[in-house]
């Protein structure tokens, strides 16, 4: 990973700053993404506007799924090893997901908050697996 903060990470840091500045309750901020513009507003004079925007964006952080797709090149043993390394699955669980990928074409290997899901997909791409993020239905 490079030392440059990614935008998602910056957002989280800024939300933390926002919490302390405006004393918005954690439950109101939970799972909210707001733009840099929102935060600059927060630090100046338009706090009520922010709260309104937060409410509008509350639905953004529904669970995301990490999906691994089948490809004919990656070896089954390799995919199993990657699942064990990235997700800490035991051998049995890793093989179950690997076979799901192989036989059904895809497997949902993790679901949760977007930032973490992004990190997992990045790791999987580092191992050259075909992996995507999807919004959970």
């Amino acid at each position: 990973m490079s030392s440059q903060p990614r935008r998602g990470v910056m957002k989280v840091a800024l939300i933390e700053q926002q919490r302390s500045t405006l004393e918005i309750s954690p439950s109101a901020v939970e799972g909210v993404r707001c733009s840099t513009v929102d935060v600059f507003r927060a630090s100046t004079t338009e706090a009520p506007v922010i709260e309104q925007e937060i409410r509008e964006k509350e639905a953004v952080d529904l669970p995301w799924q990490v999906v691994v797709h089948n490809d004919p090149i990656n070896l089954m043993t390799y995919v199993t090893m990657v699942f064990q390394k990235v997700f800490g699955f035991n051998r049995e669980k890793a093989e179950k997901h690997m076979l799901e990928v192989h036989q059904l074409g895809r497997s949902i290997v993790w679901s949760g908050l977007r930032e973490r899901a992004e990190l997992y997909v990045q790791q999987l791409h580092g191992y050259l697996l075909l992996a995507t993020l999807e919004r959970a239905h």
């Binding site: 090149i73 070896l75 043993t77 390799y78 090893m81 992004e118 791409h125 580092g126 995507t132």
Partner: protein
Amino acid sequence: MEIHRQSDALEISELDPFLAELLRQIPESTKPEGAVAAENRLFSLPANEAETELCAEWKLYVEPDLRRLFRSATETVAADLTALNGKSKPFANCTLRIPTRNAEAWLNALNQARLVIASKYGFTDGELCDHYRSPIGSRRDLSLFQVNFYGFLQEYILRELEMGSS
């Protein structure tokens, strides 16, 4: 060709000149330049194209990290492969040592090479499972053999890593 496990390395000995040459080609084979399909496979989208913001951020922030990671693995393998450029006679068999600490880099570089070659030639599932096709014939046959040979090496390295950790 013989493969032995040593305390801190995997040793591939009795490498004939043909297989040694295939190994020497690993770093070059990882380069997707000029082949859009290969580039797209190595740096695949993180989500459906409809997630435009996510995909754009990915290209900007994550892809450079992945490029560095892949380049680092390839450089490690290239350094290990310099042992094949010794002073032995041109057609003599040779030996390659893969330090265990470099095993992950080898897995990564071999995977890059396999994905790039397969994307360039558009091999079918059937072709990829045809382990008995002769490499002699067309450039395509040779490349298919190369993909399967690299896969064999990956399998071996994985098995050794597993045995080493158990």
